[in-house]
């Protein structure tokens, strides 16, 4: 499956919405049945295309949240009130409705079990989505590759996959999850409450000698700040892979 995931001409196919999980007030996971799906790798994305009755077309990219091992393809989408596509996907789309999409797309920002280097994942907001596909893939394959996730959210209620991340981190298979909140300091909160900075990186990142594989995803300014910090601390740029969502975390 994995071998075919990056081959061949991209064609549009219809996915049928089979399940919806509301992750936060503004974020939902959409599970699609895709009869023509060829399989994917953790970290890849799809393009979604909406066509209006007058022929107007809007196209957006969304990261795949589900691991390659799952039969359904899940997209976790943040609803942006001024967006063209996300308010339709999160809010109007009903179970049984069809959506046109193509994929999987990408071969750079992907991770496969079997890589021995420790994994360091850094996500901002909905940038956690492709990282979650990697962590789910790691769990399904019973990998115990050491892994750390540093996940920045605005507030506690904005944390996507919070319960599942708690469960994964409690499994004792070498995953540690660190949260930081940038707009809230709740009573009793044990995580960080500030933007990602050098002191936080020093506390959380694997030492350079261990040559961690680093994946950073989120809004452009978040990604570039986090990547610059690591480079300034001496991590080789070639070991850091980034994926930028733009200004809004999905542009649409």
């Amino acid at each position: 499956m994995a071998g075919t995931a990056v081959l061949g001409r991209l064609t549009w196919q219809f996915g049928t919405l089979a399940d919806v999980v509301q992750e936060t007030p503004r974020v939902a996971s959409l599970y699609f049945d895709l009869p023509e799906w060829q399989g994917h790798l953790a970290g890849q994305h799809v393009d979604v295309r909406l066509t209006a009755e007058d022929g107007y077309v809007a196209e957006r990219s969304y990261s795949i949240a589900s691991p390659p091992e799952d039969p359904r393809v899940a997209l976790t989408v943040e609803r942006l009130d001024d967006g063209e596509v996300s308010p339709y996907l999160v809010g109007e789309l009903r179970l049984g409705d069809k959506v046109e999409l193509r994929g999987p797309i990408g071969g750079f920002f992907v991770w496969r079990v079997g890589e021995s280097r420790p994994l360091f994942l850094i996500g901002g907001g909905s940038g956690v989505v492709p990282l979650m596909a990697m962590l789910r893939h790691r769990e399904r394959m019973r990998s115990n590759t050491p892994a750390r996730l540093l996940y920045s959210s605005r507030t506690v209620t904005d944390i996507i996959y919070r319960a599942e991340l708690d469960r994964l981190a409690a499994a004792g298979d070498g995953l540690e999850v660190y949260h930081t909140l940038t707009r809230e300091k709740p009573d009793g909160w044990k995580g960080f409450t500030r933007r990602v900075d050098q002191a936080m990186m020093q506390e959380v990142a694997w030492p350079q000698e261990q040559m961690p594989a680093v994946y950073i995803c989120g809004p452009t300014t978040f990604v570039e700040a986090a990547a610059s910090l690591l480079v300034s601390m001496g991590y080789p740029p070639a070991t850091i892979k980034t994926e930028r969502f733009g200004a809004t975390g999905g542009s649409g």
């Binding site: 990056v6 061949g8 193509r102 797309i105 930028r244």
Partner: protein
């Protein structure tokens, strides 16, 4: 919204490049014709808010490619790329 906030990277044009090349291209390696920097396409800077898509070198910010798609045709300029290396399918 500033231009720095709007900047995307090569992951965002994985679909567009596959329309043109018919294979996965974000892991292809390109050499900048301006500064000679060698980068995977996933690392390039991408701006999609222009009438077309503008791709720039992450090292020197010179234009690597411009792609305009419309009316069933592509207009594809890659004078900024000296070489491109990618796996056989």
């Amino acid at each position: 919204m500033t231009i720095d906030e709007m900047r995307l990277d090569g992951n965002a044009i994985g679909g567009l490049l596959r329309e043109i090349f018919a294979i996965e291209m974000t892991s292809a390696v390109g050499t900048c014709a301006h500064c000679g920097a060698v980068n995977e396409m996933g690392r390039v800077q991408v701006y999609v808010h222009a009438p077309g898509t503008v791709v720039r070198c992450p090292s020197c910010e010179a234009v690597l490619m411009r792609v305009v798609r419309g009316r069933g045709r592509y207009w594809f300029d890659m004078t900024g790329v000296r070489t491109m290396e990618f796996g056989e399918t």
